[in-house]
Amino acid sequence: MSSLAIEATGLCKAFGATRAVDGVDLAVPAGSVYGVLGPNGAGKTTTIRMLATLLRPDAGSARVLGHDIVADADAVRSVVSLTGQLASVDEDLTGRENLVLLARLLGLSRGGARARAGELLEAFDLADAAGRLVKNYSGGMRRRLDIAASIVVTPQLMFLDEPTTGLDPRSRNQVWDIIRALVTEGTTILLCTQYLHEADQLADGIAVIDRGTVIAEGSPAQLKASVGFGALHVRLLDPGQRGAAERLLMRRLGGVVHLEPDPAALSAACADADRAAAAVVELAQAGVEVAEFSLGRPSLDEVFLALTGRPAAEDATGEGAAA
């Protein structure tokens, strides 16, 4: 199927005076992982909640796998599953009970539900903890159970809202493995994340969202190209020389130079290691004393800086209020 799994035009949602989502357009190809990248409060969760039929949009429209999210909400619900930002499992039940409950609600027979719960607990390495109450699970176990609950019946489309926020690196890798396995089976995934690295690892396409609108869109490669593939981070011995360093880097590397909160540090978008090295040499030749330097992938902050000309705003309203 080469058609679109999600097709949204002009989605809007306001909470009081806060315009959480302000005209979002999305086109998500079926069978792909599509990343929605943005800081807290950008409108990611609100967008997902509208697409998953939990919130009614104020304006705009969207079709999920061909079904209108308002007029045909029930049809949407029967082909999607949602893994929310808060773990969407019942803390007062055991892991096994959670899965049996979901399986029964999805129409499996009593025996079928028990069998399916057993399979999932095995596959997600939760068999030993199956009889324990979820409130005693670690963050990683809870997330795995959450995702297991989302694939009791394989959904055609899965919404994943910040699935790895707060996880240790190993649990995060496990979650990524699960996501990749789902895609192999043909499930389309809409992945909300604050981490560029995560979107980079998993997504075929990315929409960068800020203050309720999509500000950039493309494949990870396209986005990174537009931002600069990496960034040169420089820390000076003398903060007083930062102005000189900024001017030199701007001249040598072009584009935007970002002054870090650390008064001795600055960074510049830079795609090419040779040019970065040459710039550092030139700094030294100009008498600017460099304490450390490194070449890294751009952080979300830098993507934002490059796309919007300002740092990613930590907006307390929006998503928090939407939940």
């Binding site: 939990l54 029967s78 808060l86 999805l106 596959a123 990683g140 789902l182």
Partner: protein, 277 residues
């Protein structure tokens, strides 16, 4: 976490993670509601202190009123116990209904409700099911009072059948009343607020009724209120059934009240649950 790198999940390799069978048809409304009822009962099993919390007060009232005031109010503790047990049974169950609202409010703050709401099921199922599960809780709360009463010397004139009929009537009324508290549960901001608001309403309704005293002894204005109070009608009907002297009119009035509460507040609760962002 107790996992080791060797046992890490490899869903890509295992066929266990992804279901091989196609999606079954959606469950019937009844099946979905009963599944949610089952969830409620699991919670009674895993968190029994929730039930104990709400029944401890009526138990204390039964003991305290019987032995402190029994002699003064009715001449002897034995006579007063005959009067009091059906009333405290009602009180115990009505207190438990407040908990339905608290539980729903707690649920709404958790992510699991989002999952329920994104499932293709009969939309009121989570609410109807929760109240069906709560009805079992109401029965347990009521049974606890009756058993304690019998241990203290209460002897129902209506026998076992009378007691059972009274408990069922009280549970039906509680089912209707709990829709009021689920509505409140969806309107209030925190479980604590629901608890406070709920008891602020349920305390005067149970105390300013015929649970503890015969209204004949009350001043006119208070007697008027007590006689209008639906809790009084429920106590009268339950007392009648347990004594073996119920009137069809009294029972009918209680059932009608429960019906009206359900018809008004169930759609309100369901609407709030659905529209909640």
């Amino acid at each position: 976490m107790s996992t080791t790198p060797e046992t890490r999940p490899t869903p890509a390799a295992g066929d266990q993670a992804l279901s091989a069978t196609p999606r079954p048809p959606r469950p019937s409304a009844l099946s979905a509601a009963l599944t949610f009822g089952w969830r409620g009962m699991l919670k009674v099993r895993h968190v029994p202190e929730q039930l104990v919390d709400v029944t401890i007060t009526p138990v204390l009232f039964l003991l305290m009123f019987t032995y402190l005031f029994g002699g003064a109010v009715a001449g002897s503790t034995a006579v007063y116990l005959q009067f009091l047990v059906p009333g405290v049974l009602v009180m115990s169950v009505l207190f438990t209904t407040v908990y339905s609202g608290v539980a729903l409010n707690t649920d709404m703050t958790k992510g699991v409700v989002d999952r329920f709401r994104s499932l293709p099921i009969w939309r009121p199922a989570p609410l109807v099911g929760a109240l069906l599960g709560d009805s079992v809780r109401y029965l347990l709360a009521g049974a606890m009072i009756v058993v304690l009463g019998v241990v203290l010397g209460y002897r129902p004139g209506g026998g076992f059948v009378g007691v059972l009929a009274a408990m069922l009537l009280v549970v039906v009324f509680a089912f209707g009343l709990s829709w009021v508290f689920t509505t409140v549960g969806l309107l209030m901001r925190s479980p604590g607020a629901v608890m406070n608001g709920g008891f602020l309403a349920i305390f005067p309704l149970t105390f300013l009724s015929n649970v503890f005293v015969d209204p004949q002894t009350l001043p006119d204005w208070l007697r008027t209120f007590v006689n209008l109070n639906p809790v009084s009608h429920l106590v009268t009907a339950a007392r009648g059934l347990m004594d073996g002297a119920a009137t069809a009119g009294g029972i009918g009035l209680v059932l009608a009240t429960a019906g009206v509460l359900t018809v008004v507040f169930a759609p309100l609760t369901i609407h709030l649950y659905r529209s909640r962002g």
